[in-house]
């Protein structure tokens, strides 16, 4: 299935101060820089693991799968919230979600050499939260399924470092 990546990714609309996430921040030079797009009613992101991301030789470590699902789903939550409000992601006020809960079922070993396709679908959207279900597919096999409950970024997370 062709993936319409001619548009900007969800994460490319995040304001600069929210673009440093290790999983999906375009300004985090050390991070995964995941990029998510709409593909009809689903969202999709492609990711090529690196050799260092192994669990055992040849297979991806579980934490990477969890990270991809997490960031793809919070991005999808933001994009879905804009869509729900009938406006595009370049309009104000900005909307940004964080994860309240994450569940991942690991169904099959995930090969390291394959490009991973992460797909999300919004199963619930309210003013307070967005629920997204996700799959991670490699070489046509669903290797993991995930579910994320995403909530609005709390203001306390914008008080840089106060709690740190």
């Amino acid at each position: 299935m062709p993936i319409p990546m001619i548009d900007k990714a969800f994460q490319e609309y995040y304001p600069e101060e929210l673009s440093h996430c290790y999983g999906c921040g375009r300004l985090n030079a050390h991070g995964l820089q995941l990029k998510s797009y709409w593909d009809g009613e689903e969202s999709v992101a492609l990711f090529q693991p690196e050799e260092k991301h192994m669990a055992v030789p040849g297979f991806v470590y579980g934490g990477l799968i969890a990270s991809l699902i997490d960031c793809h789903c919070t991005g999808t939550a933001a994009a879905a919230a804009y869509r729900e409000q009938g406006r595009t992601m370049d309009t104000e006020p900005g909307i940004r979600f964080v994860t309240a809960s994450l569940h991942v079922d690991y169904l099959a070993p995930t090969p390291l050499a394959a490009q991973l396709e992460v797909r999300g679908i919004v199963t619930q959207i309210t003013p307070k939260k967005v629920v997204i279900e996700a799959t991670v597919t490699a070489n046509g096999t669903i290797c993991a399924k995930g579910k994320v409950v995403a909530v609005h970024l709390p203001e306390s997370m914008l008080k840089t470092g106060e709690n740190s």
Copy 2:
């Protein structure tokens, strides 16, 4: 509470071919190299996030929390299985677990500057699986709770790269 890290970590008993995991492999130079120990009936690991592990400035990204819980709990599963069999981790045959499912509830933003304490407790152990519940604490606050169902490493994951 003092943590008895005079012993070798669980992960230091893993055979060389199983010590490349990004999350906990002692031979993965790019990885997190998490190290887990018994502390009575609980297992514990300490981890100091780096600046790059941010979600937003000052706070840890969710995928790191998931990774720490994941690797700490599979390590705890292995250690618990040896203990259940009444033998130490340097005896054969080796036991190694992978994650069947991972659940994380994010309870509070996790500060980037604090040392994180990951604690696990085995809530179920059978010949086929080990269930572990975990917490991630920073500065005395529980920032996340997790639950992992760990199962024995499938033989297919030892066929290096065949599926990749």
